[in-house]
């Protein structure tokens, strides 16, 4: 179904941009979180269009399934009242506009005139290739990362447990 790809891409891409704008524009934290979830889901849709299904599923699993739900949890447990809340970090918007423009120009130059080794075909890698690279070529960094994550997890448990003892 190649003929549908540009249309699907522009639809999903537009939705992703709209949702990303929503994340910073909404004054209700929950709305922002929902917009962020839509944004993540849309990015996973773009991965699907690139035939990177494993990446798409991992994106859904980790960002929507874990991180967003954690964020929602944190918001719901820390806010006493639902509804609108004062947003105190919205004051820097005047500084944000030139910064964002700068980043946009930098990105546009990089993407427009840069040269890349990677092509759409290299994204096409299946699970087997990903596993091969991850567990053979980069086995040591992989183990180091898992160790760091384990240490972080134990640290979090210890911090939380200390809090409860009081």
């Amino acid at each position: 179904m190649n003929e549908f790809h540009p249309l699907a891409f522009y639809l999903i891409g537009g939705a992703v941009i709209a949702c990303a704008l929503g994340v910073v524009i909404f004054k209700n934290l929950i709305y922002s979180a929902i917009a962020m979830i839509c944004c993540f889901s849309g990015i996973s849709g773009i991965y699907v269009l690139l035939h990177a299904e494993l990446l798409a599923a991992a994106q859904l699993l980790i960002y929507v399934g874990a991180i967003s739900i954690l964020i929602l949890f944190a918001i719901m447990l820390t806010r006493h009242r639902s509804g609108n809340i004062d947003i105190f970090f919205h004051r820097q918007s005047w500084a944000a506009i030139p910064l964002v423009l700068l980043v946009f120009v930098a990105l546009a130059i990089t993407l427009g005139w840069g040269r890349y080794q990677a092509s759409a075909d290299s994204l096409h890698a299946g699970t087997r290739q990903v596993a091969d690279v991850l567990f053979n070529q980069y086995a040591f960094p992989f183990e180091v990362v898992s160790l760091v994550l384990l240490a972080a997890m134990i640290g979090a448990v210890i911090l939380a447990a200390k809090e409860r003892k009081r």
Partner: protein, 385 residues
């Protein structure tokens, strides 16, 4: 243009099939549950509408359609309306990768097993948002509990799914079914099946893990404020649709999917799904509900260690005997199941028969039952969420 039309038509057909599966599950299984629940409790159950009360779900549906649909005044209207739709997407999306017969799979993804777990995230999301948007403490607590529970039990579920992927040497559900041509994985890996069953029942928020809607403490949990058809959508279609889809997944992973003699693929799948739903109804009518701390302890201290052990052992056997790993895996798994069941029975028996332990617990929590002068009420045990 013709290709595009064909594509659109096949998409619509897939949507209709998926919706039909959810609706049939959402109509038939609540009726079945109420009948069998009545049978277990020595009552009649719904038996007035039609033969054997078979039209009861239709009568209920008409009733729920005509009732007033209430949105609480202080609720967050948009999210309140959106949440059931988000939750509904899980049973709809999971069906995309299930092979219904030899030739019919909606989307034959190579990473079907990961996909099933990934789209499960939307179910948690819908419940969490429903709980929050209702602006009701019971709903919020129910939603949070449900999310915590579903995230905890997703880990053993994922670990057992990895075991299946290792056995089948593929994450494509069609391949998983094809590899079960000679022997079902329930016979090779009963331990993984039991973990999958228990974790799945917890994922579905069914008894004995139905704390998110524990009526004695949380009214109806996250569906407290939902009424009329929106209630039916949540309670009937989402929950029982999830049961149906979970049955489809279990059948595909452990019971040979659409394979079976005499009947066609979809028919065999239906038989297996009904079997799984009957197991859930059986749990529902016999088990009492767990406490929250027991629930979390069970996931983290029992299910996850068992599934990690199972994963490691399966990996070891596949490495040691790359050609015929099924036999040693089956021997390991069956003996582990027997040992665990024996240990569990022994423990439960010991706890139930230990009068001293029972009396001590009563002394601590219900001193008035032992005809003692009631002292100060003991502080309640800390139970977390």
């Amino acid at each position: 243009m013709i290709a595009g039309l064909e594509y659109l038509l096949s998409f619509l057909l897939a949507l209709v099939i998926a919706l039909a599966v959810i609706h049939v599950g959402g109509l038939v299984f609540p009726y079945l549950m109420r009948r069998l629940w009545g049978f277990v409790g020595d009552r009649h159950g719904p038996n007035r509408v039609g033969p054997f009360g078979f039209f009861q779900p239709i009568a209920d549906g008409i009733k729920l359609f005509t009732k007033e649909d209430i949105t609480p005044a202080r609720a967050n209207r948009w999210i309140f309306l959106l949440a059931p739709a988000i939750a509904f997407s899980t049973p709809l999306l999971v069906q995309a990768v299930i092979p219904f017969s030899e030739s019919y799979t909606i989307a034959d993804l190579n990473i079907g097993l990961v996909y099933i777990v990934a789209v499960g995230a939307f179910g948690v999301l819908g419940i969490l948002l429903a709980g929050w948007a209702s602006n009701n403490k019971y709903s919020l607590l129910g939603g949070l509990r449900s999310a915590a529970q579903m995230i905890s039990y997703e880990i053993p579920l994922l670990l057992t799914i990895i075991v299946v992927a290792m056995l089948a040497d593929s994450m494509n559900l069609g391949d998983v079914v094809a590899r079960q041509e000679n022997v079902w994985y329930i016979a090779v890996q009963p331990l993984a099946f039991i973990v999958f069953l228990v974790a799945g029942v917890a994922e579905l928020n069914r008894t004995p893990f139905d704390l998110p809607e524990a009526e004695s403490e949380l009214v109806s949990g996250y569906i407290t404020e939902y009424s009329a058809m929106r209630f039916a959508l949540f309670y009937g279609l989402v929950e029982w649709g999830n049961v149906t889809v979970w049955g489809l997944t279990t059948a595909t992973l452990f019971m040979g999917g659409w394979r079976g003699p005499f009947l066609s693929g979809p028919q065999w799948l239906a038989v297996k799904v009904i079997l799984m739903a009957l197991i859930i109804i059986w749990f529902f009518s016999t088990f009492p509900r767990l406490q929250v701390d027991q629930l979390m302890a069970f996931a983290w201290k029992i299910l996850i260690p068992i599934s990690i052990l199972n994963l490691a052992a399966t990996g070891l056997f596949i490495t040691l005997w790359p050609d015929d790993y099924l036999v040693p895996t089956a021997i390991f798994s069956w003996s582990a199941v027997i040992i665990f069941i024996a240990a569990f029975t022994f423990m439960v028996k010991k706890i139930l028969l230990n009068k001293r332990l029972g009396m001590k617990a009563r002394e601590e929590y219900e001193p008035w039952l032992l005809h003692k002068p009631p002292g100060p009420i003991p502080p309640r045990r800390q139970t977390g969420l």
